[in-house]
Subunit: 336 residues, 2 copies
DNA sequence: CAGCTCGGTTGAAACGATTCACTTCTCGGC
DNA sequence: GCCGAGAAGTGAATCGTTTCAACCGAGCTG
């Protein structure tokens, strides 16, 4: 296992180690002809820079950490892609950790990243770990929070405006002439759910309508939606809302199944339905389902921008809280 | 940005740097009382070991790389979890890269991992990159392949036996009395599809039945399944197969929608249906769908075991090809 | 032509942990 | 009281890069 080092390259190319290092890190400083010779030597020997030595001397690494709550969740998958894309343009690589909502795993990844002296960390936190983040900052590691409303302006953050999303969904239903709107989702103390409901309330209030009927669920899953769907279908037609806003697409898809199976109901003629998240399944449902799309990729890109900006800044840095507004995707389930 | 180093710890604790290093790496070699004193100093100063320096001197890093084809795919998400779990027990951390089936990204991650001098790489390759892997091995970086039938025994690999899975699915349909079985999937040249079909053929041949009817699709998506489902529903009852084996769950779910919507057909009474992959949606479909489950988490664990074993081995190592047999999950869509 | 500038290049001194040959101490055996 | 063995601790050398002050020659200026 002989390792070829910068020294071997220098010998073969007939230059000093300093020059080889310059070829690697400051290509403009070296004469094109020399550059050529050194590159040839590198290729010939199959030299690969030792990141450990490089980081040790340079002090900072060429990577940033990203810890997501659930890597299987399409929202975070898209966010990660956006973050990686932007990092790539800056020549920075991303180490992805999946906390799985487990604060012990989160802690482990933070330790790892701290040892690696990453430039910064993009984090969707499990609990409140402000103290830990303060410590990291003291060490020169910046942190940007994802998907939290941090009133605390001591950190930069990016988040999705769920109230605006809720408004958008309800306003769309109203604009297509619906009047009796029901909200399905839960548990209601989850911030996302509460915010989406609040948005819907605002939209109704704006046109002088009372609060929507609320059908609370224990979880945001397909079966929970099916259950509510069956209950609704069992009601008499006159007791039925003319539109439903589901707090996420899984619920929405379950509702659709429950509403359509073995009933004469039609979507959207008898009842309109809109979901939230715009997951891939929404488009290919029995009746393609309208939804609210969060721009996760874009969000990830912006978050990485903030992170790199902060980590590059000298001294005081003014933190920023970015709020992204989701957008409406109209499909057959609401277009009469 | 003052960095506290091992030296500062040594000063505070009144010992030499060597002893601090021993506390960190060979705790048994040091007297418990000293250990105590050093630990206290570490805690007081908030010392965090510099991974770069550590790796530089020690020569090997405490991490391995993992490159998956698609991190959003639940199969790979589960695989990654299994791999991480096992790595954690060995005190090794996993750097996850997502190639997204793009060989340029794959290449980038391989470069990164090579620079980092990782212990080994777990890889689900995009194309055939044996030469590159040979080079890595020459550098002392072991590689274990995922989800490929490498006849080439020069590398260890783990894979799922799709032929066995196909056999399992078809045999299950036969055992519940079905005789006219159709296979839905495509394109047929994809290895997974071809293998699953081959397995079904074998099961039929075993009981003296002819090959199944094949309904080829352009892709393995929900819409493709819906399309085939509608076509089937349009046939006369006497032309209908009495069971369908879908090459994956997405197709299966699409089929279910197409078969049930606005037709009098019932599942499983008129037609049984089994999918493949056992994704979360299979369980909560209109009719809970039987499927074939691949033990991805277990597979990831085993793959990591192989990788760590090989990277720890001195000199010659005998590579192993692990084949994991999937298992049958019976739900309402096939149990009459 | 002396004095400057400037692009290109040099080589030795870091960076911070690990290692290992060596010292020091302690204790038991004879 | 001497010797040897083993446990505990020491500290200088080392890993492979990057950095930076110094150097070199060529071209320009007054």
């Amino acid at each position: 296992m002989f390792s070829v080092g910068i020294k071997d390259v220098a010998n073969l190319a007939g230059v000093s180690v300093g020059t080889v290092s310059n070829v690697l890190n400051h290509p403009t400083r070296v004469n094109p002809a020399t550059h050529e010779r050194v590159s040839a030597a590198i290729a010939k020997l199959g030299f690969v820079r030792n990141a450990a030595a490089s980081q040790l001397r340079a002090g900072l690494s060429r990577s940033v950490g990203l810890i997501v709550l659930d890597s299987a969740n399409p929202f975070f998958a898209a966010l990660a892609r956006g973050a990686e894309d932007h990092a790539a343009t800056a020549g920075v690589s991303v180490l992805v950790g999946n906390s799985g909502e487990d604060s012990a795993r989160e802690e482990t990844y933070l330790d790892l990243f701290e040892e690696q002296r990453v430039r910064g960390i993009l984090l969707s936190p499990v609990g409140d770990i402000t103290p830990r983040l303060e410590r990291l900052r003291a060490r020169g590691i910046a942190t940007v929070l994802v998907d939290r409303h941090t009133r605390n302006s001591a950190f930069s953050s990016v988040a999705v405006d769920d109230v605006a999303g809720g408004r958008l969904a309800a306003a769309h239903l109203l604009s297509s002439g619906r009047k009796r709107i029901a909200f399905v989702g839960g548990p209601l103390h989850i911030r996302q759910v509460a915010d989406r409901l609040e948005g819907a309330r605002q939209a109704l209030r704006n046109v002088g309508l009372p609060d929507p009927e609320i059908l609370a669920t224990r979880s945001m899953t397909l079966p929970a939606g099916q259950e509510i769907g069956r209950q609704l279908a069992a009601r008499g037609p006159q007791d039925l809302p003319d539109a439903i806003f589901a707090a996420n697409d899984m619920l929405g898809l379950g509702l659709m199944q429950g509403l359509l199976m073995n009933t004469g109901l039609r979507i959207p003629q008898d009842i309109a339905l809109i979901g939230y998240d715009d997951i891939a399944f929404a488009e290919s449902a029995l009746v393609p389902m309208s939804s609210i799309r969060q721009h996760a990729t874009e969000l990830g890109r912006r978050a990485m921008e903030l992170l790199l900006e902060e980590s590059a800044a000298e001294g005081e840095y003014v933190h920023r809280q970015l709020i992204s507004t989701p957008s409406l995707v109209v499909r057959a389930s609401t277009s009469s």
